[in-house]
């Protein structure tokens, strides 16, 4: 409680209260995360339980009744008779799960390698940062596709659908760690010169302890900013991969998979199968991105023009 009260009194919360963009995007993002978590409770149907589907409900338009079955669907149904509203909720779950996990993976990897580079210097530093440079010269999506392709090749076919989501997380994470590593290394190099680190060294603390207990807390703010922006990017990368058909399988569709399915029906007039998942993805990515931008400006006042 005491902590919460001090948070409410902080500069950070004060700045948040005075930024309408941040409030709105925070609310949207929080709402989406909440609905995704609660999807099984909110969704009128479970679109991934095939025995509950009725094909005759296929291609029902939004806000209208199906001609054959008389069933009603808020946002219409897709080609298999799945409720679009429910598929979006479940798709959002997969998208957010992949996004969060991929960023977490990238963060752990990037921060460790960044700290390692900063603390050891010399050859280790050079090798890690050259790898980062090389990787940075390729688009992230290309690297994610490469990793995904290799992983798909080495997993046995019967496991492919089960591991698809994890492979997706790893491939996006591997494509994103460079941002973290570079920023952490830079910030840690600066912190290393500071007196409190020298003091800690003098009393004989180990290098690992110094890195984790002293330096890391002081650079966490910038890590958090990158993490937020990376989350938006990871969600988009996941959607892109799934749209290209190499990501989440149709039995576990993410928003990108739903957009890919809907794209086939755009010309034939069934616009809702594409539009609603696409709007959801847009709102999610936009709100997280705006939040990340605001966070960067607030936590790093030097950035402000």
């Amino acid at each position: 409680m005491e902590r919460f009260r001090s948070f409410l009194a902080s500069d950070f919360f004060y700045a948040f209260k005075r930024a309408p963009v941040a409030i709105v995007s925070f609310c949207i993002a929080a709402f989406m995360i909440l609905t995704a978590i609660l999807a099984p409770l909110i969704a009128p149907t479970n679109p991934f339980d095939p025995s509950t589907l009725n094909l005759m409900n296929g291609f029902t338009a939004p806000f209208s009744k199906n001609d054959f079955t008389g069933d009603h669907f808020l946002l219409g149904t897709d080609d298999q008779g799945r409720d679009v509203f429910s598929t979006i909720l479940y798709g959002l779950r997969i998208s957010l799960f992949v996004g969060f996990s991929a960023v977490l993976f990238a963060m752990v990897l990037g921060v460790s390698l960044g700290l390692l580079a900063a603390m050891t210097g010399g050859r280790t530093d050079a090798i890690i940062m050259r790898i980062a440079d090389v990787q940075l010269s390729f688009p992230a999506i290309l690297i994610a596709m490469l990793v995904f392709g290799i992983a798909k090749g080495i997993t046995p076919p019967e496991l492919r659908n089960e591991v698809a989501v994890w492979v997706l997380i790893i491939s996006i994470g591997l494509a994103d760690w460079v941002q973290f590593a570079r920023v952490v290394r830079g910030a840690a190099m600066v912190e290393r010169q500071k007196e409190y680190v020298e003091a800690a060294m003098l009393i004989g603390r180990g290098r690992v302890a110094i890195a984790l207990k002293h330096i890391l807390p002081n650079i966490l703010a910038s890590v958090l900013v990158i993490a937020t922006i990376s989350l938006a990017l990871a969600i988009i990368t996941e959607a892109t991969l799934s749209f290209l058909g190499v990501g989440a399988p149709p039995t576990q569709p993410s928003l990108g998979t739903l957009i890919r399915i809907g794209q086939g029906f755009l010309f034939s007039g069934e616009w809702w199968i594409l539009l609603f998942p696409a709007l959801t993805l847009l709102m999610l990515a936009l709100s997280v991105n705006l939040l990340g931008d605001w966070l960067r400006n607030t936590l790093n006042p030097k950035m402000e023009k």
Partner: protein, 526 residues
């Protein structure tokens, strides 16, 4: 009076001018021909291109009727029922100017029967081929074969001299990845000559000046640009923009859009192809299920329940948008042996199916994997997805494994799948072709596409007897008996007969042939 005269003169002038200038047709479909060697691959798009360049002895017209091509007359020898006699067409020349005679026919048949040939199954009953003078040809079979001519539509005739000169006597080993002269070059007697070809990109065909069929066929198309366009949306866009005049595969969801366009039309006709699911009912246990120690598909009640659970009307209405004919038998309606009674949709529905499942001891259901192609048949993956939901209603949890045909078909051939989708077209228009490939026990000579592990010695004997049964009434009775057994044992779960949708510019005038083959020499242009 005067105006009418002017109009008619104009019309005549117009007609003359159109027939005089080169009429180009831009043709697109999803896939390209795999090879130009006419005996290397028994595959639809491959034969479709080859048939513009090469010709068989007997061909089918656009309606599927057998008409003379390089043979003008054929009959069995009155003295020996094991011999089919053919009278060959005189005055035919190959594209390079060489004369066509019986030597070329004997050579081509021997080539088509060689081990690397993919056409040898169609000639499996042939014992010997021989020339009978310069324009006579005889096929000796190892027993009377009354339907021999039906097997010859895709056996193309090559020039012996040209083939020998270019070191192309051996058929290209396609599966082995071999590349040969005959895989890239052609020399047929057909109405069109390939003037340039870049595989998977563009092929240009031009009318053959010395074609024997001049005056017999319309031959109004004088130049064909053939472009494979894999992506359905791109293909439709190309037709809508006028970039191509004719596509063979309009996606069902775009039929309305193409049909509404004033400059375009869609012609629809039932295809000689049935789509069905195969079930491993022969093995003691399945690899891809969760039932230990026994095979649920071995119980005919389970197969019947599954057959009932598949709602073919819903698949037709929603997945195929009306563009299919629900099927009750794994045989297209064009085939000898087909009856309305056989093609009856199994009655029952999911509720009755559930009861049967409980009766068979699978009231709680089981889990199994369904293998499905995603680039071969119309909406193949969507059909499988729909089937997953329908089988879910009788308690069977189906995991869907959809992948490209290049990986799917070997699973059937190598017997690594327990539940799969397959489509079957019947070029001979006779049930025997289906029995030989799909119903006979899988073995050396027959049953190569039978992935059900079904084996019935009695049925096999009946199937083998068809090849040499000369009494056609008796033969038809045996065919009916076989089908009765097949239906009783629920060998396959039929889904539907495909419907072809050819989209074309208004200027193109043609009918749709049931084997999905565009025979351009019959095309007219307005």
């Amino acid at each position: 009076m005067k105006t009418r005269a002017i109009i008619s003169t104009l019309a005549v002038a117009l007609a003359m001018s159109t027939s005089a200038v080169a009429e180009t047709l831009n043709w697109a479909r999803a896939g390209d021909s795999l090879t130009m060697d006419p005996h290397a691959q028994n595959e639809g798009p491959t034969h479709a291109l080859a048939s513009q360049v090469y010709e068989p002895l007997i061909q089918r017209d656009m309606a599927g009727k057998q008409v003379p091509a390089l043979a003008t007359e054929w009959s069995t020898d009155p003295n020996d029922p094991n011999v089919w006699k053919f009278k060959l067409r005189e005055g035919v020349v190959f594209h390079d100017g060489a004369e066509f005679d019986s030597e070329d026919v004997v050579f081509s048949f021997q080539r088509a029967m060689s081990p690397d040939s993919d056409m040898k199954e169609l000639l499996s009953s042939v014992k010997e081929v021989r020339a009978d003078g310069k324009f006579g040809f005889e096929i000796v079979t190892d027993g009377p074969n009354p339907i021999m001519p039906a097997n010859l539509n895709d056996i193309y005739i090559m020039d012996k001299g040209w083939t020998e000169k270019n070191n192309a006597v051996k058929v290209q080993d396609f599966e082995g990845g071999e590349d040969t002269f005959s895989a890239k070059n052609t020399n047929g007697t057909g109405p069109y000559v390939i003037t340039s070809r870049v595989p998977d990109s563009k092929t240009v065909l031009e009318a053959f000046g010395n074609y024997w069929g001049k005056g017999q066929f319309p031959l109004e198309v004088t130049k064909i640009n053939y472009t494979p366009i894999k992506n359905a949306a791109t293909r439709v866009a190309a037709l809508l923009s006028g970039e191509v005049d004719f596509i063979q595969d309009v996606p069902v969801q775009d039929l309305g859009r193409v049909g509404e366009d004033e400059k375009l039309k869609v012609i629809t006709a039932p295809q000689n192809r049935v789509i069905f699911f195969g079930l491993n009912q022969g093995d003691a246990d399945l690899k891809n299920d969760n039932v230990e120690g026994k095979n649920p598909f071995a119980d005919v009640r389970v197969r019947r329940a599954m057959n009932m659970a598949i709602n073919r009307d819903a698949i037709k209405k929603i997945v195929m948008r009306g563009q299919s004919i629900p099927a009750g038998v794994a045989m297209p309606p064009f085939v000898n042996g087909w009856t309305k009674e056989l093609d009856q949709i199994p009655p029952g529905g999911a509720e009755a199916g559930k009861k049967l499942m409980a009766e068979a001891g699978y009231g709680d259901g089981f889990t199994v994997t369904l293998q499905c192609p995603n680039d071969r048949y119309i909406n193949d993956e969507a059909i499988c997805q729909a089937a997953v939901a329908m089988l879910g209603q009788i308690g069977i949890t189906v995991n869907l494994d959809a992948k490209p045909k290049a990986q799917h078909f070997p699973e059937i051939g190598n017997l690594t799948t327990d539940f799969y989708m397959l489509g079957w077209g019947v070029p001979t228009y006779d049930s025997e072709y289906i029995f030989n490939f799909l119903m006979h026990t899988k073995g050396e000579k027959r049953g190569s596409w039978n992935g059900t592990r079904y084996s019935n010695a009695d049925l096999d004997a009946k199937i083998v007897s068809l090849a040499s049964e000369t009494d056609l009434a008796k033969r038809d009775a045996t065919i009916a008996e076989i089908w009765k057994q097949v239906q009783e044992d629920v060998l396959y779960l039929p889904i539907h007969h495909q419907v072809l949708n050819w989209g074309m510019a208004n200027k193109v005038d043609t009918t749709v042939s049931p084997d999905d083959r565009a025979r351009f020499k019959y095309f007219k242009l307005k």
